[in-house]
Amino acid sequence: MGGRSRRQRRARGTASVAEALLWLGPALVLIVGIVLYPAITLVATSFGTYSITGLRKGDAGISNYTNFLTSPDLPRVIGNTGVWVGAVVVLTVLIGLALAQFLSKEFVGRRFVRWAVIVPWASALVISSQLFKLIYDYYHGVLNQLLLSLHIIQKPIDWLGDNHFTMASMIAVGVFVSVPFTAYLLVAGLNAIPADVYEAARIDGGSPWQIYRRITLPLLRPAILIGVVLNLIYVFNSFPVIWILNGSNPGFGNDTLITYMYKLAFRSAQHDVGLSAAAGVFNVLIILIAVGVYLRLVNWREGKEA
């Protein structure tokens, strides 16, 4: 694989920047206009004050940033974000690893299992979230009903309204919708490990656990790292799960940085677009750091994968 891709790289012709602009132009226009320009607009907005209807009233200097950073809600929101991202990513990668190991084995009906795993991945997140909102419902949800009939709980739990359970309930849904992609990614990683490596280890008398720890895990490391970083970005950015499941709770008690930012601009009483933009810049900086890590990882992988 590596050798071939390197040969191809050498075989690539050269072209002038002018010609490149002709071929890449349309893509560039879209990316600059709809991705980069809004980023610049976001920064510009964060230095302005706006009326509730969205008209720019004047310059705010850095007051949006100082208001954002000194907001009494911020520590709670940052804490929520840490718990949400940390728990979802760790659980997703661990469960994804186990599921990938399972799905990479040959067995009757495996194809159907893989299709079943795709369902939460292909479904719109907002739709799955609304589904879980009913499943979690205190009165009408099947979860309480199921747990009561199995005598796991003695009285129903308000999964989304009781502050002890809200975050954990959202994390469970976050994991549920993130595991499929992660498992698929890790199955691809497992399939890339040559079979003769395992044979050699077996001939040397390695036990299955030894083989897993000493051979599978180290060779799977690049795939695991990419899974971790991509999930960090996706889960941090994740909006619908928290937006829907936490939707009927007042205040910012269970919000992450992303939903907090959104509420500041579009749902809070003050409709403060400037303040929200300052929060948005803060979020973008966090994602940029993660993207930087990702780019280093894939670069480092470059030699191995075309």
Partner: protein, 290 residues
């Protein structure tokens, strides 16, 4: 071949007993996995097949007492639903067309040629893939507000297209790079220009890649939520993802209709997604700067 031969000759801690057992254990485990991932959607289907009043029974019954498809009939004949469906179709199809039209030349060119700024361009594409529009949504809102494009298909189509160029580009680039240069050189000798070579020789060979890119982009645009929630405030212009939540509000709780509409929105894309299963991971992780 050889691996199974070795497995049979080398004594292992788990011997013949495990080999026989795994014939049963693995499929049973498979069924358990299917149950976990499908169960919530089975609940959705069963709730869509009973009257809304029954969904709100306490305690809830697993199976409907009255089986009825009336929620599906009501949803399909609901003018509001038809509007949302139209928006979803128009936006997803248009965004997909744009993505394919801009990604094909870009993928072909970056696969075949070196030029100054190539790495910068590909890096930019990775960044768009990582920046789901969510974090930029306030900026996107302000841009379209200034342009007077709030509540227009155009704004939604352009946003869905821009943020989904990356997947199509990586997939197509992979297919273009895999085509031997000789084929192209032969075409050039026969008098094909660069563009002619791409259209007549390369595109037919990359058809599977194009199908994958089209499917993925369509689904991504079809499922998009946060930008549509922000830009489309006129009820008639909302796409399905945003519109259908009005079946369940503080004032009315039509869960059966919400779930009937949800199933109409997810079943086709789940099937499409399963068809491109093999290429998914490649397109989502191929952000390697090649």
């Amino acid at each position: 071949m050889s691996s199974s031969a070795v497995m049979r000759t080398v004594p292992r801690s788990r011997g013949r007993g495990w080999k026989n057992a795994r014939k049963w254990v693995l499929p049973i485990g498979g069924i358990a996995v299917m149950v976990v991932f499908l169960a919530p959607y089975v609940v959705m289907l069963l709730d869509a097949l009973r009257p809304s009043g029954e969904v709100l029974a306490t305690p809830p019954a697993f199976l409907p007492k009255t089986w009825t498809a009336s929620a599906f009939v009501q949803v399909v004949s609901d003018p509001a639903f038809q509007n949302w469906l139209r928006t979803s179709l128009v936006v997803a199809v248009s965004a997909t067309l744009i993505v394919i039209l801009v990604a094909i030349p870009a993928a072909y060119f970056t696969a075949r040629f070196s030029f100054r700024g190539r790495i910068l361009f590909l890096g930019l594409v990775v960044v768009t893939q990582m920046f789901a529009p969510t974090s930029l949504v306030v900026g996107i809102y302000r841009e379209f507000y200034d342009l007077g494009l709030i509540n227009t298909y155009t704004a939604l189509i352009l946003t869905d297209a821009a943020f989904n160029i990356a997947f199509a580009l990586w997939i197509l680039q992979g297919f273009f790079s895999a085509i031997p240069k000789d084929i192209e050189e032969a075409a050039a000798l026969d008098g094909c220009g660069r563009f002619g070579t791409m259209v007549r020789i390369m595109l037919p060979l990359t058809l599977p890649g194009i199908v994958t890119a089209v499917t993925f982009t369509f689904i991504a645009a079809w499922n998009e939520y946060v930008v549509a929630l922000t830009l489309m405030q006129d009820d008639a212009l909302k796409p399905l993802t945003v519109g259908i939540s009005s079946y369940v509000t503080a004032y009315q709780q039509n869960w059966s209709q919400l779930f009937a509409a949800s199933l109409i929105a997810i079943v086709p894309v789940v099937i499409l997604f399963a068809l491109i299963e093999k290429h998914l991971v490649g397109g989502m992780t191929a952000g390697a700067v090649k």
